[in-house]
């Protein structure tokens, strides 16, 4: 809970940056070195605000870590947050403001795909690297430009493709899909249908729910009786209603297997009354919210830095559930930026093109403290990163990881080669 009229975070973090400069940095960072400014396009208000809060928290932790380890190429790093109200029009204005008015070297952080789509053209015009944390298939599909990259999170197309084999093998082959009637849903609609068909399965119904819908029961009657798997990817504030109503609808009677994307439950406690219906059902997770027994060696350090406990809730408030499967992308993106800037010998805005070229040259991204979600491969042609995915089952109200995909499950042929485009 923030104070109603607290000073803006941008002001605060500038202050914090100064503190870091004064006290915490190793001697290699000269006090005279001008900081690298990273503009962060933040969903602080609007429909994406739940995610925005955790994005801010995670990237701030990453910033602290990077500065404590000497910054980027010996220069301290500063992040300037600017609210885009989760609106594409304001998004473009924010890219403009961060770049032109605040003098940021790069802009990063956007989640919602319509904001990405609205902002990317402006980033291209300003020729500023724009690193999105959105998981949309808009980057690798070729819809954007040379300046827009997604180096911190695997896109939905890849996530979905890697789920299909497991779903077909373990849950069933006749799938009914509920998806929101907007871009995030379309990625699922288009790519899961193909992926499940490749496994010998089929979609028996695809039901698109219009935005702003608050009640869903009436649509459940459209679920065909021979459905084996109910695939749901709803997002937004009405998600809980969706799941609760599904539970009321099926009740104690026979029901299909449920498979969902955890996007439905990001920032939501899986033990919430009314969600008992989800017990035993499966979810995609990019980064398991509840720390698995076989978690990698860097998992604990990441959780501590961000302030998240082993259940994926805030250490200061056990009711405050993280958007765990998405927020790591801001951490990894900032580290990716550091790696690329150091490789490019980046000194200032004049080197922005060199910076993008350096990013495009990166391929292997091994597991490490800078990549707590796991090892990744970056495709410089499509500007998209690829990593492993997880499937978790709700057991006793908790998400328990039951399967991890291979990187190859999520690969698909390139749809674009940005490196051939002009800057």
């Amino acid at each position: 809970m923030t104070n109603l009229l607290m000073p803006s975070r941008r002001a605060l973090l500038k202050g914090a940056g100064a503190g870091v400069l004064a006290g915490m940095l190793p001697a290699t960072v000269g006090a005279q070195a001008a900081p690298i400014k990273v503009g962060f396009q933040l969903h602080r208000t609007g429909i994406g605000a739940s995610y925005g809060r955790w994005y801010e928290r995670t990237v701030t932790a990453a910033l602290k870590k990077i500065n404590a380890e000497g910054g980027i190429a010996g220069r301290p790093v500063e992040i300037l947050f600017e609210d885009d109200a989760t609106d594409p029009k304001r998004g473009a204005e924010v890219v403009d403001k961060l770049t032109q008015s605040d003098g940021c070297d790069v802009v990063m952080g956007t989640l919602f795909s319509h904001v990405v789509m609205g902002s990317a053209p402006r980033a291209g015009e300003l020729k500023v690297p724009y690193l999105v944390c959105s998981e949309g298939y808009h980057v690798a599909s070729g819809a954007l430009n040379r300046w827009t990259l997604q180096p911190g999170i695997t896109d939905v197309r890849s996530q979905i493709s890697s789920m299909a084999p497991w779903v077909a093998a373990n849950l069933g082959k006749k799938v009914t899909m509920f998806y929101p009637d907007y871009a995030f849903g379309y990625d699922h609609r288009d790519h899961f249908s193909k992926a499940i068909a490749a496994q010998g399965g089929e979609m028996v119904a695809m039901i698109a729910i219009p935005p702003t819908e608050t009640s869903f029961t009436r649509y459940f009657a459209q679920i065909p009786a021979d459905t084996e798997v109910l695939y749901h990817v709803m997002v937004g504030p009405a998600v809980l209603t969706f799941v609760k109503e599904l539970g009321e609808f099926y009740g104690t009677g026979p029901k299909p297997q449920l498979f969902g994307f955890v996007d439905s439950l990001e920032a939501v406690d899986t033990a919430t009354p009314g969600l008992e219906f989800l017990e035993g059902s499966h979810f995609w997770e990019a980064h398991p919210r509840v720390k698995p027994a076989d978690a990698g060696e860097f998992e604990a350090g990441y959780r501590e830095a961000v302030g998240v406990d082993d259940n994926g809730t805030s250490v200061s408030d056990a009711k405050d559930v993280a958007t765990y499967s998405h927020m790591f992308s801001t951490w990894e993106t900032l580290h990716f930026l550091k790696q690329a800037m150091e490789a490019a010998g980046y000194t200032g805005p004049a080197d922005r093109q060199k910076l993008v070229e350096a990013m495009e040259a990166i391929t292997d991204l091994p597991y490490g403290p800078e990549r707590p979600q796991g090892a990744k491969v970056f495709n410089g042609k499509t500007h998209q990163v690829f990593g492993v995915q997880h499937i978790s089952q709700i057991q006793s109200g908790k998400l328990v990881q039951v399967h991890t995909t291979s990187m190859e499950d999520g690969m698909y042929e390139d749809a674009v080669d940005y490196t051939t485009m002009a800057f």
Binding site: I47, S50, G52, R53, F220, V239, E248
Partner: protein, 293 residues
Amino acid sequence: MSFGPFLLLALMEGLVTAAVLALAASGLSLVFGVMRVVNVAHGEFYMLGAVIAWFVTTLVPGPAWAGFLVALAVAPVAVGALAAAADRLVLRRLDYDPEATIVATIGLLYMIQQAALSFYGPDARPVAAPFDWRLQLPWFGYSGYKLFVVLAAAVVLLALWLFMTRSKVGLVMRATQVDRDVAQAFGIDVDLVYMAVFGIGAALAAVAAVLIVPIQQAHYLMGHDPLLLSFIVVIIGGLGSLRGTVVAALVIGLSDGVISMFFSPTLAKILATLLVALVLVFRPQGLFGVRDR
């Protein structure tokens, strides 16, 4: 699912939608009917009611119904007081000028939304229903609380109707609605009536929210849809006609439910929206309104 149960489900859903619409619109019907001002912040009063319900049910120990009852008492009082203060401090000074009121209530909307975001946060949070009961039919299950909402809507609207027609305060309000100047000439303190109407209208929105929030979630942006839908219901019903509001809610709710049986969801929404628009086009005074001049 075969047609019969399908239709039954659609009708039940339509009835619940109608109850939600009628509840959300009741306060606006009062405010719009008596004061003839467009209160853009009405949906935010609704949202505040839901958010207060969350705080109250979280704080009050004991069974779910205890917190629910406390919320049902606290939320309308708090929200009503806030609205009355807004009337006194802002709207009265604008002399309820229709255009200035729109700008002022847009300002209020921003302020309330930001306050909710700052103090309550951006997450959607569930409020437990006062009781946990599920109706299991042979074909599908249904929430017992949803059916309770239909009943509650009937009770609230009946109470409002009795209040407006049988009580002295209600009479004074109706007199003011018919003719402000004449009411003033008869010694009615019109300023006080307006403040009371604005406060009661907001309190009704809060009551509606407390009743509805267990089947939805409390979220700081949740006021947007109820505002639009309430306006539509109130206008279709005919300004200031409580009976019209109820009928309009039923018409919109049931047609929404039944249309959603036959088309894909988004297409169904498009058709339902156009249908409602055309009702107004061919009956501009609403279902139960009197044509102005």
